[in-house]
Symmetry: C2
Subunit: 291 residues, 2 copies
Protein backbone atom coordinates (compact mmCIF):
# COMPACT_ATOMS: atom_id res chain seq x y z
CA UNK A 1 0.00 0.00 0.00
CA UNK A 2 0.91 3.67 -0.20
CA UNK A 3 0.61 5.98 2.80
CA UNK A 4 0.59 9.75 2.44
CA UNK A 5 0.95 12.25 5.28
CA UNK A 6 -0.42 15.36 3.56
CA UNK A 7 -0.32 18.47 5.66
CA UNK A 8 -0.69 22.21 5.25
CA UNK A 9 2.81 22.86 3.99
CA UNK A 10 4.26 19.49 3.03
CA UNK A 11 3.48 16.06 1.58
CA UNK A 12 5.30 12.86 2.58
CA UNK A 13 4.51 9.63 0.75
CA UNK A 14 5.63 6.10 1.70
CA UNK A 15 5.48 2.85 -0.22
CA UNK A 16 4.94 0.08 2.29
CA UNK A 17 5.39 -3.68 1.89
CA UNK A 18 3.02 -6.29 3.31
CA UNK A 19 4.84 -6.20 6.66
CA UNK A 20 4.79 -2.40 6.91
CA UNK A 21 8.39 -1.93 5.85
CA UNK A 22 9.13 1.33 4.07
CA UNK A 23 10.33 0.38 0.58
CA UNK A 24 10.05 3.83 -0.96
CA UNK A 25 9.56 7.40 0.14
CA UNK A 26 9.13 10.86 -1.34
CA UNK A 27 8.73 14.25 0.24
CA UNK A 28 7.77 17.57 -1.29
CA UNK A 29 6.55 21.02 -0.38
CA UNK A 30 3.18 20.35 -2.06
CA UNK A 31 1.18 21.02 1.10
CA UNK A 32 -2.55 21.53 0.63
CA UNK A 33 -2.19 25.33 0.69
CA UNK A 34 0.00 25.15 -2.43
CA UNK A 35 -2.53 23.15 -4.46
CA UNK A 36 -4.53 25.48 -6.69
CA UNK A 37 -8.08 24.90 -7.97
CA UNK A 38 -8.60 21.71 -5.99
CA UNK A 39 -6.11 19.80 -8.17
CA UNK A 40 -5.46 17.24 -5.42
CA UNK A 41 -5.81 14.19 -7.65
CA UNK A 42 -3.28 15.50 -10.18
CA UNK A 43 -0.88 16.52 -7.40
CA UNK A 44 -1.13 13.08 -5.83
CA UNK A 45 -0.56 11.36 -9.18
CA UNK A 46 2.53 13.45 -9.79
CA UNK A 47 3.95 12.32 -6.44
CA UNK A 48 3.11 8.60 -6.44
CA UNK A 49 2.35 7.82 -10.10
CA UNK A 50 5.41 5.61 -10.51
CA UNK A 51 4.37 3.38 -7.63
CA UNK A 52 0.83 3.10 -9.04
CA UNK A 53 2.20 2.08 -12.43
CA UNK A 54 4.28 -0.45 -10.56
CA UNK A 55 1.13 -2.13 -9.28
CA UNK A 56 0.08 -0.40 -6.06
CA UNK A 57 -3.71 -0.01 -5.82
CA UNK A 58 -4.39 1.21 -2.30
CA UNK A 59 -3.60 4.71 -1.00
CA UNK A 60 -4.30 6.00 2.49
CA UNK A 61 -4.07 9.74 3.22
CA UNK A 62 -3.83 11.46 6.59
CA UNK A 63 -3.49 15.08 7.69
CA UNK A 64 -5.01 18.39 6.65
CA UNK A 65 -5.91 16.91 3.26
CA UNK A 66 -9.11 15.84 5.07
CA UNK A 67 -9.92 19.37 6.21
CA UNK A 68 -12.23 22.04 4.82
CA UNK A 69 -9.24 23.44 2.86
CA UNK A 70 -8.35 19.96 1.57
CA UNK A 71 -9.71 17.43 -0.88
CA UNK A 72 -12.85 16.41 1.03
CA UNK A 73 -13.79 17.45 4.56
CA UNK A 74 -13.76 14.24 6.61
CA UNK A 75 -15.96 14.55 9.72
CA UNK A 76 -13.99 14.42 12.97
CA UNK A 77 -14.19 11.22 14.98
CA UNK A 78 -14.79 11.83 18.70
CA UNK A 79 -12.38 10.60 21.39
CA UNK A 80 -11.78 8.00 22.68
CA UNK A 81 -10.59 6.50 19.39
CA UNK A 82 -7.94 3.94 18.47
CA UNK A 83 -6.62 2.44 15.26
CA UNK A 84 -9.71 0.23 14.82
CA UNK A 85 -12.14 3.13 15.33
CA UNK A 86 -10.20 5.22 12.83
CA UNK A 87 -9.98 2.36 10.31
CA UNK A 88 -13.75 2.01 10.52
CA UNK A 89 -14.34 5.66 9.64
CA UNK A 90 -12.23 6.17 6.53
CA UNK A 91 -13.63 8.38 3.79
CA UNK A 92 -13.32 7.51 0.14
CA UNK A 93 -12.24 10.03 -2.48
CA UNK A 94 -12.61 9.64 -6.24
CA UNK A 95 -9.36 8.77 -7.98
CA UNK A 96 -8.84 6.96 -11.26
CA UNK A 97 -6.90 3.70 -10.99
CA UNK A 98 -6.57 3.21 -7.23
CA UNK A 99 -8.63 3.14 -4.07
CA UNK A 100 -7.90 6.29 -2.14
CA UNK A 101 -9.12 6.62 1.44
CA UNK A 102 -8.84 9.48 3.91
CA UNK A 103 -8.16 9.17 7.63
CA UNK A 104 -10.60 11.33 9.64
CA UNK A 105 -9.25 13.70 12.27
CA UNK A 106 -10.23 13.48 15.92
CA UNK A 107 -12.16 15.84 18.14
CA UNK A 108 -12.42 16.22 21.88
CA UNK A 109 -13.61 18.92 24.31
CA UNK A 110 -11.59 20.39 27.15
CA UNK A 111 -12.72 20.75 30.80
CA UNK A 112 -14.62 23.93 29.95
CA UNK A 113 -16.36 22.53 26.87
CA UNK A 114 -14.17 24.18 24.23
CA UNK A 115 -13.63 21.97 21.17
CA UNK A 116 -10.32 20.38 20.30
CA UNK A 117 -9.26 19.08 16.88
CA UNK A 118 -6.37 17.20 15.31
CA UNK A 119 -5.72 15.97 11.77
CA UNK A 120 -2.73 13.77 11.11
CA UNK A 121 -1.43 13.52 14.66
CA UNK A 122 -3.86 10.64 15.41
CA UNK A 123 -2.14 8.62 12.68
CA UNK A 124 1.31 9.35 14.10
CA UNK A 125 0.19 8.42 17.60
CA UNK A 126 -1.23 5.03 16.59
CA UNK A 127 1.96 4.48 14.60
CA UNK A 128 4.29 4.51 17.58
CA UNK A 129 5.38 0.94 18.19
CA UNK A 130 5.96 -0.17 21.73
CA UNK A 131 4.05 2.65 23.40
CA UNK A 132 2.24 1.27 26.44
CA UNK A 133 -1.54 1.02 26.37
CA UNK A 134 -1.66 3.87 28.87
CA UNK A 135 0.70 6.66 27.98
CA UNK A 136 1.17 10.38 27.35
CA UNK A 137 2.25 11.56 23.90
CA UNK A 138 3.38 15.03 22.85
CA UNK A 139 3.58 16.14 19.21
CA UNK A 140 5.37 19.50 19.19
CA UNK A 141 4.71 21.97 16.39
CA UNK A 142 2.79 25.08 15.38
CA UNK A 143 -0.16 23.68 17.31
CA UNK A 144 1.40 21.21 19.77
CA UNK A 145 -0.77 18.28 20.82
CA UNK A 146 -0.63 16.46 24.15
CA UNK A 147 -2.59 13.20 23.97
CA UNK A 148 -3.50 10.84 26.75
CA UNK A 149 -3.63 7.19 25.60
CA UNK A 150 -5.80 4.89 27.73
CA UNK A 151 -6.35 1.22 26.92
CA UNK A 152 -4.54 1.71 23.61
CA UNK A 153 -6.91 4.40 22.37
CA UNK A 154 -6.53 8.19 22.28
CA UNK A 155 -8.69 9.14 25.25
CA UNK A 156 -8.29 12.91 25.20
CA UNK A 157 -5.95 15.61 23.96
CA UNK A 158 -5.10 19.30 24.41
CA UNK A 159 -3.60 21.74 21.94
CA UNK A 160 -1.10 24.53 22.68
CA UNK A 161 -0.58 27.38 20.23
CA UNK A 162 3.11 27.72 21.16
CA UNK A 163 4.76 27.25 17.76
CA UNK A 164 2.56 29.71 15.92
CA UNK A 165 2.71 32.18 18.83
CA UNK A 166 6.52 32.00 18.66
CA UNK A 167 6.52 32.73 14.93
CA UNK A 168 4.11 35.67 15.33
CA UNK A 169 5.96 37.19 18.29
CA UNK A 170 9.19 36.87 16.35
CA UNK A 171 7.93 38.26 13.05
CA UNK A 172 5.47 40.91 14.19
CA UNK A 173 6.59 42.45 17.50
CA UNK A 174 9.39 44.60 18.88
CA UNK A 175 10.86 41.41 20.40
CA UNK A 176 11.67 40.12 16.94
CA UNK A 177 13.54 43.26 15.90
CA UNK A 178 16.44 42.19 18.11
CA UNK A 179 16.48 38.62 16.86
CA UNK A 180 18.88 37.07 14.39
CA UNK A 181 18.64 33.86 12.38
CA UNK A 182 20.57 30.80 13.44
CA UNK A 183 20.45 27.49 15.25
CA UNK A 184 18.97 27.36 18.75
CA UNK A 185 21.46 28.37 21.42
CA UNK A 186 20.91 25.83 24.18
CA UNK A 187 22.13 28.05 27.02
CA UNK A 188 19.68 30.79 26.04
CA UNK A 189 16.92 28.20 25.52
CA UNK A 190 17.58 26.92 29.07
CA UNK A 191 17.40 30.47 30.46
CA UNK A 192 13.98 30.85 28.81
CA UNK A 193 12.91 27.47 30.23
CA UNK A 194 13.94 28.54 33.73
CA UNK A 195 12.17 31.87 33.29
CA UNK A 196 8.92 30.02 32.49
CA UNK A 197 9.06 28.61 36.02
CA UNK A 198 9.33 32.06 37.63
CA UNK A 199 6.33 33.75 39.24
CA UNK A 200 4.26 35.86 36.85
CA UNK A 201 2.22 35.29 33.75
CA UNK A 202 3.54 34.56 30.25
CA UNK A 203 2.33 38.03 29.16
CA UNK A 204 4.65 39.53 31.80
CA UNK A 205 7.55 37.20 30.97
CA UNK A 206 7.34 38.23 27.29
CA UNK A 207 8.20 41.82 28.15
CA UNK A 208 11.31 40.53 29.92
CA UNK A 209 12.67 39.37 26.55
CA UNK A 210 12.85 43.06 25.67
CA UNK A 211 14.23 44.38 28.95
CA UNK A 212 16.93 41.69 29.25
CA UNK A 213 18.08 42.79 25.78
CA UNK A 214 17.87 46.47 26.74
CA UNK A 215 20.03 45.91 29.82
CA UNK A 216 22.60 43.83 27.95
CA UNK A 217 21.72 40.61 29.78
CA UNK A 218 20.58 38.81 26.62
CA UNK A 219 22.46 39.03 23.32
CA UNK A 220 20.54 39.75 20.13
CA UNK A 221 21.75 36.42 18.78
CA UNK A 222 20.29 34.58 21.75
CA UNK A 223 16.90 36.19 22.18
CA UNK A 224 15.03 33.94 19.72
CA UNK A 225 16.34 30.86 21.57
CA UNK A 226 15.35 32.44 24.90
CA UNK A 227 11.82 33.15 23.60
CA UNK A 228 11.57 29.58 22.32
CA UNK A 229 12.58 28.22 25.73
CA UNK A 230 10.13 30.54 27.45
CA UNK A 231 7.18 29.34 25.36
CA UNK A 232 8.12 25.64 25.43
CA UNK A 233 8.67 25.92 29.18
CA UNK A 234 5.23 27.44 29.66
CA UNK A 235 3.65 24.74 27.50
CA UNK A 236 5.37 21.83 29.25
CA UNK A 237 4.67 23.37 32.66
CA UNK A 238 0.96 23.56 31.87
CA UNK A 239 0.57 20.27 29.95
CA UNK A 240 2.76 17.76 31.74
CA UNK A 241 1.71 16.10 34.99
CA UNK A 242 4.52 15.98 37.56
CA UNK A 243 7.11 13.29 36.90
CA UNK A 244 5.39 12.06 33.72
CA UNK A 245 6.92 9.89 31.01
CA UNK A 246 6.27 11.62 27.68
CA UNK A 247 6.54 10.06 24.21
CA UNK A 248 7.72 12.74 21.80
CA UNK A 249 6.64 12.37 18.18
CA UNK A 250 7.82 14.72 15.47
CA UNK A 251 10.83 16.40 13.90
CA UNK A 252 14.04 15.39 15.61
CA UNK A 253 15.38 18.87 16.42
CA UNK A 254 12.11 20.09 17.94
CA UNK A 255 11.69 16.85 19.91
CA UNK A 256 15.20 17.38 21.28
CA UNK A 257 14.22 20.82 22.62
CA UNK A 258 11.00 19.47 24.15
CA UNK A 259 12.95 16.60 25.74
CA UNK A 260 15.17 19.23 27.38
CA UNK A 261 12.12 21.08 28.72
CA UNK A 262 10.52 17.86 29.99
CA UNK A 263 13.72 16.82 31.78
CA UNK A 264 14.11 20.32 33.30
CA UNK A 265 10.67 19.92 34.87
CA UNK A 266 11.32 16.46 36.25
CA UNK A 267 9.69 14.37 33.52
CA UNK A 268 11.14 11.65 31.32
CA UNK A 269 11.10 12.08 27.56
CA UNK A 270 11.21 9.25 25.00
CA UNK A 271 11.86 10.45 21.45
CA UNK A 272 9.99 8.18 19.04
CA UNK A 273 10.73 7.08 15.50
CA UNK A 274 10.25 10.02 13.13
CA UNK A 275 8.47 7.68 10.65
CA UNK A 276 5.49 7.35 13.01
CA UNK A 277 3.15 8.64 10.27
CA UNK A 278 4.18 5.83 7.89
CA UNK A 279 3.73 3.22 10.61
CA UNK A 280 0.34 4.64 11.61
CA UNK A 281 -0.87 4.69 8.01
CA UNK A 282 0.17 1.05 7.70
CA UNK A 283 -1.52 0.08 10.96
CA UNK A 284 -4.78 1.81 10.01
CA UNK A 285 -4.57 0.48 6.45
CA UNK A 286 -4.05 -3.10 7.59
CA UNK A 287 -7.01 -2.85 9.97
CA UNK A 288 -9.30 -1.32 7.34
CA UNK A 289 -11.57 -3.33 5.11
CA UNK A 290 -10.73 -1.60 1.82
CA UNK A 291 -13.91 -0.81 -0.08
Amino acid sequence: MIGVDWGTSSLRAYRLDAAGGIIGRTASAKGILTVADGAFAATLRAEIGAWLEDGETRVLLSGMIGSRQGWIEAPYLPCPAGAADIAGALIRVIFDGAEVLLVPGLTDTDEAGTPEVMRGEETQIVGVPGMADDALACLPGSHSKWARIVGGRIASFRTFFSGEAFAALRSATILGRMMTEGPTDLDAFDLGLARAGDPGHLLHHLFGVRTLGLFGRLDAGDSASYLSGLLVGHEVGAAMPEGARVHLIGAESLCGLYARAIAARGGTAVIEDSDAAARGLFRIGSTASWI
Copy 2:
Protein backbone atom coordinates in the same frame (compact mmCIF):
# COMPACT_ATOMS: atom_id res chain seq x y z
CA MET B 1 5.22 76.25 30.57
CA ILE B 2 4.83 73.76 27.74
CA GLY B 3 4.48 70.04 28.39
CA VAL B 4 5.03 67.46 25.65
CA ASP B 5 4.12 63.78 25.87
CA TRP B 6 6.30 62.44 23.04
CA GLY B 7 5.94 58.74 22.39
CA THR B 8 6.86 56.19 19.77
CA SER B 9 3.98 56.96 17.43
CA SER B 10 2.52 60.27 18.54
CA LEU B 11 3.30 63.68 20.04
CA ARG B 12 0.91 65.60 22.29
CA ALA B 13 1.82 69.13 23.39
CA TYR B 14 0.08 71.24 26.04
CA ARG B 15 0.43 74.91 26.90
CA LEU B 16 -0.15 75.26 30.61
CA ASP B 17 -0.90 78.36 32.69
CA ALA B 18 0.62 79.10 36.09
CA ALA B 19 -2.10 77.04 37.81
CA GLY B 20 -1.68 74.04 35.48
CA GLY B 21 -4.75 74.84 33.38
CA ILE B 22 -4.52 73.64 29.77
CA ILE B 23 -4.72 76.80 27.65
CA GLY B 24 -3.57 75.22 24.38
CA ARG B 25 -3.03 71.77 22.94
CA THR B 26 -1.78 70.12 19.75
CA ALA B 27 -1.51 66.48 18.75
CA SER B 28 0.26 64.94 15.78
CA ALA B 29 1.54 61.63 14.50
CA LYS B 30 5.17 62.86 14.79
CA GLY B 31 6.19 60.03 17.12
CA ILE B 32 9.93 59.51 17.57
CA LEU B 33 9.99 56.70 15.00
CA THR B 34 8.83 59.15 12.30
CA VAL B 35 11.60 61.67 12.99
CA ALA B 36 14.44 61.18 10.49
CA ASP B 37 18.11 62.01 11.06
CA GLY B 38 17.64 63.04 14.68
CA ALA B 39 15.70 66.17 13.70
CA PHE B 40 13.96 66.34 17.08
CA ALA B 41 14.62 70.05 17.66
CA ALA B 42 13.13 71.02 14.30
CA THR B 43 10.15 68.73 14.83
CA LEU B 44 9.50 70.22 18.26
CA ARG B 45 9.79 73.76 16.92
CA ALA B 46 7.28 72.98 14.19
CA GLU B 47 4.82 71.79 16.83
CA ILE B 48 5.17 74.46 19.51
CA GLY B 49 6.89 77.34 17.71
CA ALA B 50 3.86 79.62 17.97
CA TRP B 51 3.74 79.27 21.77
CA LEU B 52 7.47 79.98 22.02
CA GLU B 53 7.07 83.14 19.94
CA ASP B 54 4.23 84.04 22.28
CA GLY B 55 6.67 84.06 25.21
CA GLU B 56 6.88 80.53 26.61
CA THR B 57 10.44 79.65 27.63
CA ARG B 58 10.20 76.33 29.47
CA VAL B 59 9.46 73.00 27.83
CA LEU B 60 9.22 69.65 29.63
CA LEU B 61 9.22 66.41 27.59
CA SER B 62 8.18 62.93 28.72
CA GLY B 63 7.94 59.55 26.99
CA MET B 64 10.08 57.60 24.55
CA ILE B 65 11.78 60.83 23.45
CA GLY B 66 14.13 60.05 26.35
CA SER B 67 14.99 56.59 25.05
CA ARG B 68 17.91 55.26 23.03
CA GLN B 69 15.82 55.86 19.87
CA GLY B 70 14.94 59.40 20.99
CA TRP B 71 16.67 62.76 21.39
CA ILE B 72 18.95 61.88 24.30
CA GLU B 73 18.92 58.70 26.34
CA ALA B 74 17.90 59.71 29.86
CA PRO B 75 19.08 57.16 32.46
CA TYR B 76 16.24 55.34 34.20
CA LEU B 77 15.46 56.39 37.75
CA PRO B 78 14.99 53.43 40.10
CA CYS B 79 11.77 52.84 42.06
CA PRO B 80 10.51 54.00 44.46
CA ALA B 81 10.19 57.41 42.83
CA GLY B 82 7.66 60.22 43.11
CA ALA B 83 7.20 63.63 41.48
CA ALA B 84 9.98 65.20 43.55
CA ASP B 85 12.48 62.44 42.72
CA ILE B 86 11.63 62.74 39.03
CA ALA B 87 11.84 66.56 39.11
CA GLY B 88 15.32 66.25 40.62
CA ALA B 89 16.55 64.04 37.77
CA LEU B 90 15.53 65.95 34.65
CA ILE B 91 17.94 65.93 31.71
CA ARG B 92 18.62 69.05 29.69
CA VAL B 93 18.68 69.00 25.89
CA ILE B 94 20.12 71.71 23.67
CA PHE B 95 17.45 73.90 22.07
CA ASP B 96 17.71 77.44 20.85
CA GLY B 97 15.42 79.93 22.59
CA ALA B 98 13.94 77.85 25.40
CA GLU B 99 14.95 75.59 28.25
CA VAL B 100 14.03 72.06 27.29
CA LEU B 101 14.16 69.31 29.91
CA LEU B 102 13.49 65.58 29.66
CA VAL B 103 11.68 63.44 32.23
CA PRO B 104 13.65 60.21 32.92
CA GLY B 105 11.87 56.88 32.77
CA LEU B 106 11.69 54.54 35.74
CA THR B 107 13.13 51.11 36.29
CA ASP B 108 12.31 48.33 38.71
CA THR B 109 13.02 44.58 38.96
CA ASP B 110 10.43 41.86 39.36
CA GLU B 111 10.45 39.06 41.99
CA ALA B 112 12.88 37.05 39.85
CA GLY B 113 15.27 39.91 39.16
CA THR B 114 14.18 40.65 35.61
CA PRO B 115 14.34 44.37 34.80
CA GLU B 116 11.25 46.52 34.26
CA VAL B 117 11.13 49.84 32.42
CA MET B 118 8.65 52.62 31.71
CA ARG B 119 8.95 55.94 29.89
CA GLY B 120 6.04 58.37 29.96
CA GLU B 121 3.74 56.36 32.21
CA GLU B 122 5.48 57.73 35.36
CA THR B 123 4.43 61.23 34.28
CA GLN B 124 0.83 60.15 33.75
CA ILE B 125 0.74 58.41 37.13
CA VAL B 126 1.99 61.43 39.08
CA GLY B 127 -0.51 63.53 37.12
CA VAL B 128 -3.59 61.80 38.45
CA PRO B 129 -5.24 64.18 40.90
CA GLY B 130 -6.99 62.74 43.91
CA MET B 131 -5.33 59.32 43.79
CA ALA B 132 -4.69 58.15 47.35
CA ASP B 133 -1.11 57.97 48.60
CA ASP B 134 -1.42 54.16 48.49
CA ALA B 135 -3.06 52.94 45.32
CA LEU B 136 -2.88 50.65 42.30
CA ALA B 137 -2.74 52.16 38.81
CA CYS B 138 -3.11 50.39 35.46
CA LEU B 139 -2.08 51.98 32.15
CA PRO B 140 -3.40 49.69 29.41
CA GLY B 141 -1.65 49.63 26.04
CA SER B 142 0.84 47.76 23.87
CA HIS B 143 2.91 47.18 27.01
CA SER B 144 0.42 47.58 29.86
CA LYS B 145 1.81 48.84 33.15
CA TRP B 146 0.48 48.00 36.62
CA ALA B 147 2.02 50.33 39.22
CA ARG B 148 1.79 50.17 42.98
CA ILE B 149 1.83 53.63 44.62
CA VAL B 150 2.98 53.71 48.24
CA GLY B 151 3.30 56.91 50.24
CA GLY B 152 2.63 58.94 47.11
CA ARG B 153 5.59 57.45 45.19
CA ILE B 154 5.69 54.73 42.52
CA ALA B 155 6.98 51.82 44.61
CA SER B 156 7.04 49.10 41.96
CA PHE B 157 5.49 48.15 38.63
CA ARG B 158 4.97 45.23 36.27
CA THR B 159 4.57 45.19 32.48
CA PHE B 160 2.30 42.92 30.43
CA PHE B 161 2.87 42.46 26.70
CA SER B 162 -0.88 42.02 26.03
CA GLY B 163 -1.50 44.79 23.50
CA GLU B 164 1.41 43.91 21.26
CA ALA B 165 0.69 40.18 21.60
CA PHE B 166 -2.88 40.86 20.46
CA ALA B 167 -1.69 42.78 17.41
CA ALA B 168 0.82 40.06 16.46
CA LEU B 169 -1.64 37.18 16.95
CA ARG B 170 -4.16 39.08 14.87
CA SER B 171 -1.83 40.08 12.04
CA ALA B 172 0.47 37.06 11.81
CA THR B 173 -1.41 33.86 12.76
CA ILE B 174 -4.22 31.69 11.48
CA LEU B 175 -6.43 33.23 14.19
CA GLY B 176 -6.32 36.57 12.41
CA ARG B 177 -7.41 35.13 9.07
CA MET B 178 -10.95 34.80 10.44
CA MET B 179 -11.03 38.29 11.90
CA THR B 180 -12.75 41.35 10.49
CA GLU B 181 -12.29 45.03 11.30
CA GLY B 182 -14.79 46.84 13.46
CA PRO B 183 -15.58 48.09 16.93
CA THR B 184 -15.24 45.70 19.89
CA ASP B 185 -18.28 43.47 20.33
CA LEU B 186 -18.86 43.50 24.08
CA ASP B 187 -20.61 40.12 24.22
CA ALA B 188 -17.68 38.43 22.47
CA PHE B 189 -15.22 40.38 24.63
CA ASP B 190 -17.05 39.09 27.73
CA LEU B 191 -16.87 35.51 26.41
CA GLY B 192 -13.11 35.91 26.04
CA LEU B 193 -12.90 37.38 29.55
CA ALA B 194 -14.78 34.40 30.96
CA ARG B 195 -12.60 31.99 29.01
CA ALA B 196 -9.50 33.53 30.64
CA GLY B 197 -10.85 32.26 33.97
CA ASP B 198 -11.18 28.66 32.72
CA PRO B 199 -8.61 26.01 33.60
CA GLY B 200 -5.71 25.78 31.17
CA HIS B 201 -2.90 28.01 30.02
CA LEU B 202 -3.20 31.01 27.68
CA LEU B 203 -1.33 28.99 25.01
CA HIS B 204 -4.13 26.41 25.16
CA HIS B 205 -6.91 29.04 25.25
CA LEU B 206 -5.50 30.66 22.09
CA PHE B 207 -6.16 27.51 20.06
CA GLY B 208 -9.78 27.66 21.22
CA VAL B 209 -10.20 30.92 19.26
CA ARG B 210 -9.68 28.77 16.17
CA THR B 211 -11.83 25.79 17.15
CA LEU B 212 -14.77 27.91 18.34
CA GLY B 213 -14.73 29.51 14.87
CA LEU B 214 -14.36 26.13 13.17
CA PHE B 215 -17.40 24.76 15.03
CA GLY B 216 -19.51 27.84 14.34
CA ARG B 217 -19.58 28.92 17.98
CA LEU B 218 -17.77 32.20 17.32
CA ASP B 219 -18.56 34.45 14.33
CA ALA B 220 -15.70 35.78 12.22
CA GLY B 221 -16.86 39.29 13.11
CA ASP B 222 -16.57 38.53 16.82
CA SER B 223 -13.30 36.65 17.07
CA ALA B 224 -11.05 39.72 17.40
CA SER B 225 -13.18 40.93 20.32
CA TYR B 226 -13.04 37.47 21.89
CA LEU B 227 -9.24 37.37 21.56
CA SER B 228 -9.03 40.85 23.09
CA GLY B 229 -11.17 39.73 26.05
CA LEU B 230 -9.08 36.59 26.44
CA LEU B 231 -5.81 38.53 26.66
CA VAL B 232 -7.15 41.34 28.85
CA GLY B 233 -8.75 38.73 31.11
CA HIS B 234 -5.46 36.87 31.47
CA GLU B 235 -3.62 40.12 32.22
CA VAL B 236 -6.11 41.36 34.83
CA GLY B 237 -6.28 37.88 36.38
CA ALA B 238 -2.51 37.84 36.82
CA ALA B 239 -1.94 41.49 37.76
CA MET B 240 -4.86 42.45 40.02
CA PRO B 241 -5.01 41.42 43.67
CA GLU B 242 -8.46 40.16 44.67
CA GLY B 243 -11.02 42.90 45.23
CA ALA B 244 -8.57 45.68 44.34
CA ARG B 245 -9.47 49.26 43.43
CA VAL B 246 -7.67 50.09 40.18
CA HIS B 247 -7.07 53.56 38.75
CA LEU B 248 -7.15 53.29 34.94
CA ILE B 249 -5.10 55.83 33.02
CA GLY B 250 -5.15 55.98 29.22
CA ALA B 251 -7.35 56.11 26.16
CA GLU B 252 -11.02 56.12 27.07
CA SER B 253 -12.12 53.14 24.95
CA LEU B 254 -9.34 50.86 26.16
CA CYS B 255 -9.90 51.92 29.78
CA GLY B 256 -13.57 51.04 29.33
CA LEU B 257 -12.64 47.47 28.29
CA TYR B 258 -10.21 47.11 31.18
CA ALA B 259 -12.85 48.42 33.59
CA ARG B 260 -15.14 45.65 32.34
CA ALA B 261 -12.43 43.03 32.95
CA ILE B 262 -11.65 44.42 36.41
CA ALA B 263 -15.34 44.38 37.40
CA ALA B 264 -15.77 40.83 36.03
CA ARG B 265 -13.01 39.70 38.41
CA GLY B 266 -14.45 41.42 41.45
CA GLY B 267 -12.34 44.59 41.40
CA THR B 268 -13.36 48.24 41.26
CA ALA B 269 -12.17 50.40 38.37
CA VAL B 270 -11.83 54.19 38.44
CA ILE B 271 -11.25 55.72 35.00
CA GLU B 272 -9.02 58.77 35.39
CA ASP B 273 -8.79 62.02 33.43
CA SER B 274 -7.29 61.34 29.99
CA ASP B 275 -5.13 64.50 30.36
CA ALA B 276 -3.04 62.86 33.08
CA ALA B 277 0.13 63.41 31.02
CA ALA B 278 -0.44 67.20 30.92
CA ARG B 279 -1.13 67.30 34.66
CA GLY B 280 1.92 65.18 35.40
CA LEU B 281 4.16 67.37 33.26
CA PHE B 282 2.86 70.42 35.13
CA ARG B 283 3.37 68.79 38.53
CA ILE B 284 6.94 67.75 37.71
CA GLY B 285 7.65 71.12 36.02
CA SER B 286 6.41 73.09 39.05
CA THR B 287 8.52 70.97 41.39
CA ALA B 288 11.65 71.30 39.27
CA SER B 289 14.23 74.02 39.71
CA TRP B 290 14.65 74.96 36.05
CA ILE B 291 18.29 75.29 35.19
